[in-house]
């Protein structure tokens, strides 16, 4: 009994000390963090004042003096630059770039090789904002790093959209797994029509269905109209997901000649493709498709009826007239109900806007 009592006493004392230590650690940490934050805010405000003057004056000389005066507070300076660079463009960002070059670039280059992932990410973030063409090789070296770092690098490279960097982005898109590819697609989207030739080239490569579908969607979203013929080609692809992507892209490309192919897709064996084709027809706003869209209202599938109804509304007065006719005709309860709802919602949103 005595032994268990001794063990108990030791456990209790040990736990008590541990709890007290943890409690004081939490308190002390909070006090220190608050003090550090206070100091940080004070310096931040000082830098901010100077930065605002620089942004207004547009003088690079002033920017260099900020770098000289506050170079010994890199953390605060980095935060100020990140906060401001995210909200300014043009000459103002150039001036911030001068501060970066003069005060932080050396540190960032060192941080790019740091063991700490947060330091690497922070350095890349600054390169995302202030990258210059000569920095590309440094960033490309990091393409062998962890996926998270690679994503950040791709984001940085997208700020320097020359031929070589865009190739790197597309190569990474092909090599990396599909979750990462989604992020790359979003980055590519930001590059606009510069990626036209790359998208066309990579569409012809052997890619997984998911990646190919993403590229087709990208062609539509940007939109890359010169790829119209290639997208049309995919509308007969045996894979359903590719046909859906093609139907959506055709709607986004807004080329009236796509009408016939979209009408063909409204007869597709998969309802998902049909529904997308009806939606895209609405986006094209070609009055010749009135009959097809009206037919869609009588589909067995709810999604097809829904998209056909709203697409008719998108055609303006002629479409609205067709919807009214379907409501009055009452040939089919489901079509009539859908047309009623579409008319009702068009009325509401019209009033609301």
């Amino acid at each position: 009994m005595y032994l268990s009592l001794i063990v108990g006493v030791y456990s209790l004392v040990f736990l008590l000390l541990f709890c007290l230590a943890l409690f004081f650690f939490i308190l002390l940490r909070r006090i220190i963090v608050q003090q550090v934050e206070k100091k940080f805010q004070k310096i931040y405000r000082m830098i901010e004042e100077e930065v605002l003057i620089t942004l207004n004056s547009g003088s690079p000389q002033k920017a260099i003096s900020i770098a000289e005066n506050f170079g010994q507070h890199p953390k605060v300076l980095i935060q100020t630059l990140i906060n401001y660079a995210e909200n300014v463009k043009g000459q103002a960002r150039e001036n911030l770039g001068v501060i970066f070059e003069a005060a932080l670039k050396k540190k960032c280059l060192k941080d790019l090789r740091s063991w700490w992932i947060s330091k690497r990410l922070r350095a890349i973030r600054l390169f995302v904002l202030f990258a210059r063409p000569e920095d590309s090789p440094l960033l490309i070296d990091l393409m062998k790093d962890k996926p998270l770092i690679r994503l950040a690098v791709i984001q940085a490279l997208s700020r320097l959209p020359n031929y070589r960097n865009i190739s790197y982005i597309f190569d990474a898109f092909v090599k990396d797994p599909i979750p990462q590819a989604h992020a790359y697609i979003n980055i590519m989207y930001g590059l606009g029509s510069r990626i036209e030739s790359f998208v066309g080239e990579y569409m012809t490569k052997t890619l997984s269905y998911e990646k190919l579908a993403l590229l087709i969607e990208l062609a539509g979203s940007v939109p890359l109209r010169s790829l119209y013929d290639k997208v049309i080609g995919f509308s007969s692809h045996p894979e359903k997901e590719i046909r859906i992507a093609a139907a959506r892209a055709l709607g986004n490309l807004l080329i009236h000649e796509a009408q016939n192919d979209l009408i063909r897709l409204t007869e597709d064996e998969a309802w998902e493709v049909q529904a997308q084709a009806y939606k895209s027809l609405g986006r094209l706003k070609v009055s010749d498709s009135l009959d097809v869209l009206e037919k869609g209202l009588y589909s067995f599938n709810w999604h097809v009826r829904y998209n056909a109804g709203y697409s008719l509304a998108m055609l303006g007065i002629p479409g609205i007239k067709r919807l009214k006719a379907v409501v009055k005709g009452k040939k089919d309860r489901f079509a009539s109900d859908m047309a009623t709802m579409v008319l009702d919602s068009v009325l509401y949103s019209g009033e609301a806007t």
Binding site: L5, S11, R125, L148, H182, D337, Y348
Partner: protein, 474 residues
């Protein structure tokens, strides 16, 4: 006979001791995993601009479904908060689940609602819908008025009406932080194929000040019970769920704030209306369905999107809430009992389900038996008094230590309580909760078994006070 009884007694005591060690081991493990998880997450979000990577026009649209039953005090504030979220494309569907107070009238008045003709695909059967309203002042808002069918039925009705591929289930009396959806949607953008559901953090709105549907001042609740619950929520979300998430064993995405893929939810038949633990039930059924389909998936817990919700401030409401939670847990585990210890369901079957069964469901009963044995031994003189006291204090300080670790996690991750005094108060309550409150909770959670066997189905009454504004603060 007496000897056999003594041996049996010793055996039970030994088992309880082993149980005590095991449960604390798992809590420590979860806390350590939470630290690593939060550390990794912080690194990821601090310097990688997801807003830039996922350009706003390309993010997936979301339908927010907020069931409301007798929420007249808070509904306007909650809906206002939902309508002012930072997200490019979303709709807000408020489902008035047959409220007997003025919830619907308040909504009609505040948001200029008009009855609309609506055709929707009844993917899931629900109680009859009396009417669907659209707001003339805010096109994002849709209100469904339906016959009362409980929360799961209301969510199903919202699912039927919703337009978008993702839906966010939230409580009608909760307030989301402005960027909560943007943070929640991140895993769905990073890995759209595999991510099925994501959950955020729930925080207590008691003691906080709200203005225009947004939190203005964060503070500690004045109410004693609510203060105890602040600590419980910190432990449960930052310690428990984050740790379980790292072990890929998360079985609950809180019904008060969760984002789900609509197609998978519909394939699983939506929310099951026969249970009162519909949030956990949905996740378990989704996991079961995807394991059986042999599809890889992930369910995530994200430590920074915050939803503010009201905690019960009276004993009767607290009893009802905890009783309901425990019955819901029991119903879900019983309904999906085939998964327990079944290797076909991966980590969920081999670790998560047994963990929830032995430590969450049976935990309070074992704890209660432990207390009874302890008191019996103490009164009958079969235990050394100093040792008894020592053991009790060890248990108290162990509990305290785990709570302090959860507070440290809060300090490290979000640090939402601005005053130092708030930390002192929560720390004090980490000690106080071990006396009476913890034992009382074990008792009411154990009583849930009796209610379950009796066939109790109701939710029980929850008194709500609504969100306080600056002027109402003392």
């Amino acid at each position: 006979m007496t000897e056999t009884l003594a041996v049996l007694f010793q055996l039970v005591t030994g088992l309880i001791l082993i149980y005590f060690c095991l449960i604390n081991f798992f809590y420590f493990l979860f806390l350590i995993l939470s630290f690593t998880g939060i550390f990794h997450y912080r690194n990821k979000v601090k310097y990688l601009s997801f807003k830039e990577i996922f350009h706003l026009p390309l993010v997936k649209p979301i339908s927010i479904i907020a069931p409301a039953y007798n929420e007249e005090h808070s509904i306007t504030e909650s809906v206002n908060s939902l309508l002012t979220l930072e997200y490019p494309l979303y709709e807000v569907i408020v489902v008035n689940d047959g409220s007997t107070d003025k919830t619907l009238e308040k909504l009609i008045e505040a948001f200029d609602l008009q009855k609309a003709k609506w055709v929707f695909r009844k993917s899931i059967a629900t109680k009859p819908v009396n009417g669907i309203y659209k707001s003339l002042s805010n096109p994002k808002l849709i209100v469904i008025d339906k016959v009362n069918g409980k929360k799961a039925d209301a969510l199903n009705a919202g699912l039927n009406i919703s337009h978008y591929p993702l839906f966010c289930a939230i409580d009608g009396d909760s307030v989301l932080e402005k960027d909560a959806l943007l943070k929640m949607v991140r895993p769905f953008l990073e890995n759209p194929e595999e991510t099925i559901a994501a959950g955020g953090i729930l925080r207590l709105s008691n003691g906080c000040v709200f203005e225009d549907g947004q939190i203005k001042k964060i503070g500690m609740p004045k109410n004693f019970l609510a203060r105890l619950q602040v600590l419980e929520y910190l432990r449960a979300f930052l310690g428990g769920r984050m740790g379980l998430n790292k072990l890929k064993s998360l079985l609950i995405i809180s019904g008060a704030f969760g984002l789900f893929r609509k197609d998978v939810t519909l394939e699983c038949g939506g929310y099951r209306t026969e249970t009162i633990g519909e949030d956990m039930d949905l996740i378990v059924r989704i996991k079961k369905y995807l394991y059986e389909k042999k599809t890889s998936f992930r369910i995530c817990f994200i430590p920074d999107p915050i939803c503010w919700t009201e905690a019960p401030e009276s004993f009767s409401s607290l009893i009802n809430q905890r009783n309901r939670w425990h019955r819901g847990l029991a119903e879900t585990l019983v309904h999906n009992r085939r998964m327990i210890f079944n290797p076909a369901y991966g980590l969920t079957g081999l670790f998560a389900m047994p963990f929830y069964l032995f430590f969450e469901l049976l935990g309070p009963v074992i704890e209660l038996i432990g207390y009874i044995i302890f008191v019996t031994l103490l009164l009958s003189g079969h235990i050394n008094h100093p040792f008894a006291l020592m053991f009790f204090l060890v248990a108290v300080f162990l509990g305290c230590f785990i709570s302090l670790m959860a507070i440290l996690l809060e300090e490290y991750s979000l640090r939402r309580y601005p005053k130092l005094s708030d930390i002192l108060i929560i720390s004090l309550f980490s000690l106080l909760e071990n006396f009476i409150y913890r034992q009382y909770l074990a008792f009411i959670r154990s009583k849930a078994f009796v209610d379950l066997l009796r066939g109790k189905k109701g939710w029980g009454e929850m008194k709500k006070i609504g969100f306080s504004k600056e002027a109402e603060q003392p």
